[in-house]
């Protein structure tokens, strides 16, 4: 039996979406939810489905993709693009083998910091229940 390491949830986020600057330390770990590490992009449209797969393969518990409110991309279409990729409506999509239960997408404006924190906490909780179910099996 491998010793269970403490796993993290990786957030891939647009730097113009929800404002987390005051919520995280210099390593990108959220103060209120220490399981969550934040990686910033110039636009959520830059996030590749491959990156999500890589994160899960590298041992992340789950991945949060976060962009601006749909309709309000600074670069016009970035959040729509990644949303369509995640939904399998635009190539390249997410591989079928990726566990969809471990990926969540949020579209939040710069002012919705509280909403992000609560959603992130809920997702961490959801992943814990998911783990206990899979372990029980």
């Amino acid at each position: 039996m491998v010793e269970t390491k403490k796993k993290t949830v990786i957030t891939l986020i647009c730097e113009r979406a929800v404002d987390l600057d005051r919520e995280m330390d210099e390593k990108g770990i959220l103060k209120d939810a220490p399981d969550v590490t934040v990686i910033k992009f110039p636009c959520s449209g830059m996030i590749q489905p491959l990156m999500i797969e890589a994160a899960l393969k590298a041992g992340a518990e789950g991945v949060i993709v976060c962009g601006c409110q749909i309709g309000d991309c600074y670069y016009r279409e970035g959040n729509k693009m990644i949303r369509e990729r995640l939904l399998g409506e635009r190539p390249p999509g997410l591989k079928k083998t990726v566990d969809r239960r471990r990926v969540v997408a949020l579209w939040l404006s710069r002012l919705q910091t509280k909403r992000f924190i609560s959603e992130a906490k809920e997702f961490v909780g959801h992943l814990q229940t998911l783990n206990s179910i899979t372990e029980a099996k």
Binding site: G28, Q48, Y74, M81
Partner: protein
């Protein structure tokens, strides 16, 4: 750095706040702020359609060329449209107020792109063409006021003539062009009609320039927003019906008129200052306004770069680029693939959408490489 500055800017903060609460009320799908460019475009179609009906009945003359018993001219034809044609008054009102609404929504559009920093660098073509479009819209709107040929039209015509005459060198020819001859005749009104309609179609050319650097521009708001916009305009038409003033008489000199603040404010300014000062102010303001994108100095965009050895020519980045900045060119001899992606750096915003579109890690932002992202992800997953 620019971003830090932007997010402490009170105007940007106010815009964000306003949009946030509109989202709460209307949801992001129906947030009019997210269709700010499509709103004036929608009103343009309303103007084209309502204008078509007015055009069918409008007669661009100032007196009766056919010596019939009844006077038939621009004013009486507008009167006929308003009073006799079923819903004529509604169409006339719609045409007038949709014009006002177009100016209003253009102002909203300008303020939003300005306050949210979406007007500079790779977007300068949109800004400059936008200024030209706005000036054209204002001028077209003013010619609409000349067309009804009431006392206000006559006064506006005379004010425009004296404004043109005050300009050195080009003044006289400009005046002759404007009234289509040396003095106000029937030909003046046919010229007004040509300017009004001809220039409206030129707007379409201007809009092409405005949109050419954008893939998939948002041209139409969702139907619900369109219905609401039309409903609001119709409500205004019903509440404040449009009426012409007294018919213009060339022998008389009207001295005052009701002002439409969306289009006729330059005429208000003319009454408050000398013509020389008026022109200096207008030209200066337009030059300053056009130069707005160059007021903020920032370092140039770090544009995307294609990794020549990895690109398979699949053209997904070309399809997804929101600024039409990627071109597929024939691959160099000896390549296994037919095509190769190339970046037009003068159009690139450095947003990285092409990176997201690439399944082969074949395109990179120099300031955030694919490999850097992978390392960050691995480090975060294993910490």
């Amino acid at each position: 750095m620019v971003m830090q500055k932007l997010y402490t800017d009170p105007l940007n903060k106010a815009t964000l706040w306003l949009e946030h609460w509109t989202n709460v009320i209307a949801t992001s799908k129906y947030n009019p702020f997210y269709y700010h460019g499509a709103l004036p475009q929608f009103y343009l179609w309303v103007l084209f359609l309502s204008g078509l009906l007015l055009f069918a009945y409008y007669i661009p003359t100032i007196d009766n060329a056919y010596a019939s018993e009844r006077l038939i001219n621009a004013w009486t034809s507008v009167d006929y449209i308003t009073k006799t044609i079923p819903f004529g008054a509604v169409f006339r009102g719609l045409h007038r107020y949709a014009g006002d609404a177009m100016v209003l929504t253009i102002i909203l559009h300008v303020l939003r792109v300005w306050f949210t920093d979406r007007y500079r660098q790779y977007r300068w073509v949109q800004w400059v063409s936008g200024v030209v479009l706005l000036l054209a819209v204002l001028f077209i709107g003013q010619t609409g006021y000349y067309l009804v040929w009431d006392e206000r039209s006559l006064l506006l015509t005379r004010m425009t003539v004296s404004a043109f005459e005050s300009l050195p060198v080009i003044g006289q020819p400009l005046k002759d062009w404007f009234i289509n001859g040396k003095e106000i005749t029937n030909l003046t009104l046919s010229n007004y009609l040509f300017i009004h309609i001809g220039l409206s179609f030129m707007l379409l050319f201007g809009l092409w320039v405005h949109y050419v650097r954008m893939a998939r521009p948002v041209l139409t708001p969702p139907p619900v927003i369109n219905y609401i916009l039309v409903a609001i305009t119709l409500a205004v038409v019903a509440m404040f019906p449009i009426q012409s003033g007294t018919m213009a008489q060339l022998t008389q000199t009207p001295t005052s008129f009701e002002i439409d603040w969306f289009f006729l404010w330059p005429y208000w300014m003319m009454t408050k200052m000398s013509m020389g000062f008026f022109w200096a102010l207008m030209i200066g303001a337009v030059v300053l306004f056009t130069a707005v994108p160059w007021f903020v100095r920032t370092k140039p965009v770090e544009t995307a770069e294609v990794v020549l050895t990895k690109c398979t020519g699949c053209s997904l980045c070309d399809k997804d680029c929101p600024y039409e900045a990627i071109d597929m060119v024939p691959a160099p001899a000896g390549s296994r693939f037919k095509l190769l992606a190339t970046v037009k750096s003068y159009r690139c915003s450095g947003c990285g959408l092409c990176v997201g579109a690439c399944a082969f890690d074949a395109i990179d932002l120099p300031n955030l490489l694919d490999s850097d992202v992978s390392n960050q992800i691995k480090a975060a997953a294993q910490s």
